[in-house]
């Protein structure tokens, strides 16, 4: 099912939870909503589910407006951040509840429920009550309950947040597999960028209730639209070098360091800028290469084939990967150049991408 959100806005009193949110989710895609805590991810999900009414804006399922439709008529499956299993029912009862409401005959609904339980590996727990389950088991029961009625849209609110690292990976792949088998349009909320990058067809990145960028995972990483997007993705985080352009050179803030930067020539002179460089986009250049800074080495961490260096460039800290065969000594100075890919120029005030 194709899902469109147009100018979707939700205010809780004076709190702006979601503001002017316009995104289209293509049929059969798995879209992650990614963003820091409190940015409005759950609210978007609740708007899609019909749990909170929109302040403004529209939601369309396959072109039909559902903005005012109550949750029970939307045909969606939802896994809450805190599972919300029915405490008085067994696992089997919980999973078959959506079918019970649809008046599916008992034998048939129990069969479907058992199949779902097997899919999420809780088929040995069918007769337990939720309070007798671990957090991870409860979460899997909740996923089974959301899937059992074959929803048109599956909404998952941080469904993996309570699992241990291994199970988390396993469940992540499981969700992806189930999603690709069923081709159900899925929205997956998470604040874990790696999770979002690995599982999604598309990522919707939010901050403070606003859409920052909606794109394929790789494009989001390589072509961030603004500084927030660049900052949010990547480990170690992207480096910041504040400064401004003058006469075709980038002048680093608080220092004399400058380097010729013809690509930045389009930026207005004197305006505060941020030169952002991914850790894998810096390198020690060949002597004849231009465009370089001098960096003093603070510390070097060799981790197998990768060497992570901590540097100081004109008073700004800088982290980047080095070639495995060079291990500069702390306290020495080395030249550093930036590759075009993974080097961005942002407006220092608005955060808009200039380059």
């Amino acid at each position: 099912m194709k899902v469109e959100m147009r100018g979707l806005t939700k205010h809780f009193g004076s709190t702006v939870a979601v503001e002017d949110f316009t995104v289209t989710l293509e049929d059969g895609h798995l879209t992650s909503i990614l963003g820091p805590s409190g940015c409005g991810k759950s609210t978007v999900l609740n708007l899609l589910a019909g749990i909170v009414p929109a302040t403004r804006g529209e939601i369309l399922f396959d072109g039909e407006a559902v903005t005012g439709l109550p949750p029970e008529l939307r045909g969606i499956g939802l896994v809450f951040q805190n599972y919300s299993l029915y405490p008085h029912m067994t696992v089997l009862g919980n999973i078959s509840f959506p079918l019970e409401i649809k008046k599916v005959p008992r034998a048939q609904r129990e069969e479907s429920a058992r199949a779902m339980a097997a899919l999420v590996h809780v088929d040995n727990l069918l007769h337990r009550k939720p309070r007798e389950l671990s957090g991870g088991q409860q979460q899997r029961v909740a996923i089974a309950r959301a899937l059992v009625k074959k929803p048109n849209l599956l909404l998952l609110d941080e469904p993996l947040s309570n699992l241990d690292a291994r199970l988390r990976l396993e469940m992540r792949e499981e969700i992806r597999r189930i999603q690709q088998e069923t081709r159900v349009t899925t929205v997956f909320v998470t604040h874990d960028q790696e999770e979002a990058m690995s599982i999604s067809d598309r990522i919707v990145l939010m901050n403070a209730g606003r859409l920052q960028q909606e794109d394929e995972p790789q494009r989001l990483y390589h072509e961030p639209r603004n500084q927030f997007v660049a900052d949010f993705l990547g480990t170690p985080p992207i480096n910041h070098l504040p400064g401004h352009m003058k006469g075709g050179a980038f002048i680093l803030e608080g220092g004399q360091a400058r380097f010729p930067f013809s690509r930045g020539a389009g930026a207005p002179e004197g305006r505060p800028l941020i030169l952002a460089v991914r850790a894998e986009s810096a390198h020690v250049p060949d002597p004849d290469e231009g465009a370089l800074f001098s960096a003093s080495v603070e510390s070097i961490y060799a981790m197998g084939k990768e060497v992570l260096g901590y540097f100081d460039i004109g008073g700004h800290s800088f982290r980047c990967y080095l070639d495995g065969d060079m291990l500069p000594r702390p306290g020495t100075e080395i030249p550093i150049a930036f590759r075009e890919r993974g080097t961005f120029l942002f407006d220092g005030e608005t955060g808009e991408r200039l380059l």
Binding site: N46, F80, N82
Partner: protein, 291 residues
Amino acid sequence: MTAKESAGLCAEIARANRLRALLARGATYFFLALGAVVMLFPFFWMFTSAFKTPQEVATFPPRWLPAAPRFENFATVFEKAPFGIYFLNSALITAASVAGTGLVTILAAFAFSRLKFPGRNLLFTLLLSLMMIPFEMLVITNYETIAAWRLIDNRLSLFIPFLGSIFYTYILRNFFLSIPDGLYWSARVDGAGNWTYLWKVMVPIARPALTTIVLLNAITSWNSFMWPMLVINSTANRTLPLGLYVFMTEGGINFELLMAASTVVVLPIILLFLIARKQIVGGVARGGMKG
């Protein structure tokens, strides 16, 4: 102090402690037992007297147990007054009251905890303030209403005025409020409307509270005396407590028969308590629920 001495001292202290604990426990049991005897004695007296002969009831010093239990007392009671009809009336009215009041309470508690409508909290506060009005004052208006509806001397009048109970609604509403919101929205997303959610999720979860309400209501209804006394005149419509009263005033003081009749009145309640004891205690002890 040598090690041996200190070990001896320890043993002595332990012995003293044990003795003290034993004494404390003994005292506790003694007072509990005393309380139990005081509470149970009237029931014991009623129950044994119900099987005595008129002479045995009247002798002094009293006899604790009848020489031979006289089951005829019960037969006589049922002969002298239509206790079978009284019993049936009591049972019917209690059942109707439990079902009717239960239903109204569930719906009202749902509305006041889950539905959103303007003035909800104000309305509920107003209702709560009505609990301040003593029952005796309500009797007058209730009587007038029942009279206007021409239900005097009709068994319907015995439970209709009590269908809406603010107190029970209050208990259940609080329980409903303790059920997390997420469960409600889960059920809605799973396809349930308010009605289905109420009966499939809320009511089963609230079973401890509901059991308490049903039992309290059953006991109150079964024992109710003053109101039936006011609105019921004919023999055919009497409930047990009313019948017992009439039996006492009309039949003269035959203690053994009176005690047999009382046993008939009280026994169902005691049985109910014994059967539902776990539920009652559970309902009181649990109170709320874990999300």
